[in-house]
Amino acid sequence: MSEATTDQPLRAVSPTDEADRAVLVRLSAGDLDALEELYERHGTMAYSIAYRVTGDAALAEDCVQEAFLGAWRSAERYADSRGSVKAWLLAIVHHRAIDAVRRRRPTSELPASEAPAPTELQAPDVWPEVAGSLEREEIAAALATLPDAQREAIELAYFEGLTQPEIAARTGAPLGTVKGRVRLGLLALRRALTHEGEPVDAVVDEEGAT
């Protein structure tokens, strides 16, 4: 494999996913209370993502509603497959939000993709067993380790749904450079996140003060 393949898999089945999976099984059996529970567990995060991407409260609500209804309809299909339930759900929300902003973007000639995010390609539960409240700081720290241009390229792709040619147009950088930034940036982010799993001292020593 290429040298860029990482050292350590982002894998751990967290207690969160065990509980989510139980909810999903009930959801696939048509249990409406399970849908409520799923919303209580992940609705805020889903809305936060949709709002970040769309910047529009009403549109964000629609995206969240569509995502949860989509989960309601297809829970049966997903119940048997691997992967984090939370990641699957948030990926649906993210995808719908991106579709919404792409549709509203006049200059985008790209058709909105109807297929949900490629769930079969996402790793099994990626949420480590670290306490939830620490994760956002760890992620922010990991993102901060990226060179600005790489972080910007990833954020334009993930939070604004721009394609690489569109990122090139937005930033004024050549397409090849953008492709490099997207690839290197995501690889670097993954490396930074896997190191977040190590004891805090090690992280501090490694990152140091910039």
Partner: protein
């Protein structure tokens, strides 16, 4: 790994981020579908996305969103129930198609309404254990919501001196339900199969005593799920009162707008 694989690997980050052009994405998908190489980089980079999702600032959704989502899902389930034939498990556990439990059946009217409720609960219990049909489960869930309303009615019905009415209408598709009238003037009604109300429309509940004069006791709106629970208190109702529902263009009607949607005469439950 050949050159094509290498080129595809280089697209992995762009692919998982959805940043490829449609043509680029098509090429990658086709390759992944047919290539024997595991191409683990896709899975590994894909695993980063949930962290990006988690990194956003937390914004609380409006409190009404939860209810809207569950109501929409319930409406879908109820909509399926309307088109799916009701399946009743036979004693051998083999599903057979039977007529929907028809409480408009005259026999049901002569039996105590509580017997009908017990029969419905028994059917729900039998099929719930099986859980062999997702569509049926959704129908059952819509029924379960109705059943939850039934428990409110039964609470009233269980009080000494209470009477109950099975509400029925014209035709097998008519809205149906159960009403309990307590001796201290509480009336609780649970209905299913009601057409949703629009705008200021309401279903108005009436009690009709021996003198035949309909007395309004309150109105309620109905959403897409078609099921509703309604309670009124301070109602003056003698034995054998008739409980009726009409559909009114606005709340506050003093004279019912015909036709009567659903009605039934209350009886004291047999001991």
């Amino acid at each position: 790994m050949n050159d094509q694989c290498r080129l595809v690997e280089e697209q992995a980050a762009g692919f998982v981020l959805g940043a490829l052009t449609p043509e680029e994405e098509r090429v990658v998908r086709e390759h992944l579908a047919t290539c024997p190489e595991p191409h683990r980089e896709f899975e590994e980079l894909g695993g980063v996305l949930p962290y990006l999702a988690e990194s956003v600032d937390v914004v609380e959704p409006p409190a009404s969103l939860k209810g809207r989502i569950t109501a929409a899902a319930a409406a879908e389930a109820a909509g399926q129930a309307a088109t799916t034939p009701t399946l009743v498990a036979s004693n051998t556990g083999t599903p057979t198609t039977a007529a929907p439990i028809a409480i408009s059946d005259a026999r049901a009217r002569r039996r105590s309404p509580l017997t009908w409720v017990a029969a419905l609960a028994a059917v729900l219990a039998i099929v719930a254990v099986g859980a062999w049909n997702v569509g049926l489960q959704r129908e059952l869930d819509a029924a379960r919501r109705y059943e939850a309303g039934l428990s409110a009615v039964l609470d009233v019905a269980g009080q000494p001196g209470s009477q109950t009415a099975v509400l029925t209408g014209e035709g097998s598709e008519a809205p149906s339900g159960l009403a309990a009238v307590s001796s201290d003037g509480r009336v609780t009604i649970v209905m299913r199969g009601l057409a949703p109300t629009r705008g200021s429309e309401v279903y108005e509940a009436w009690v009709i005593g021996g003198d035949g004069t309909p007395v309004p006791i309150g109105g309620f709106a109905v959403g897409d799920a078609g099921a509703a629970t309604f309670t009124a208190s301070g109602v003056s109702a003698g034995p054998g009162v008739t409980v009726a529902l009409t559909r009114e263009p606005a709340p506050g009607a003093t004279i019912p707008t015909f036709p009567i949607i659903s009605s039934g005469q209350a009886v004291a439950p047999s001991t």
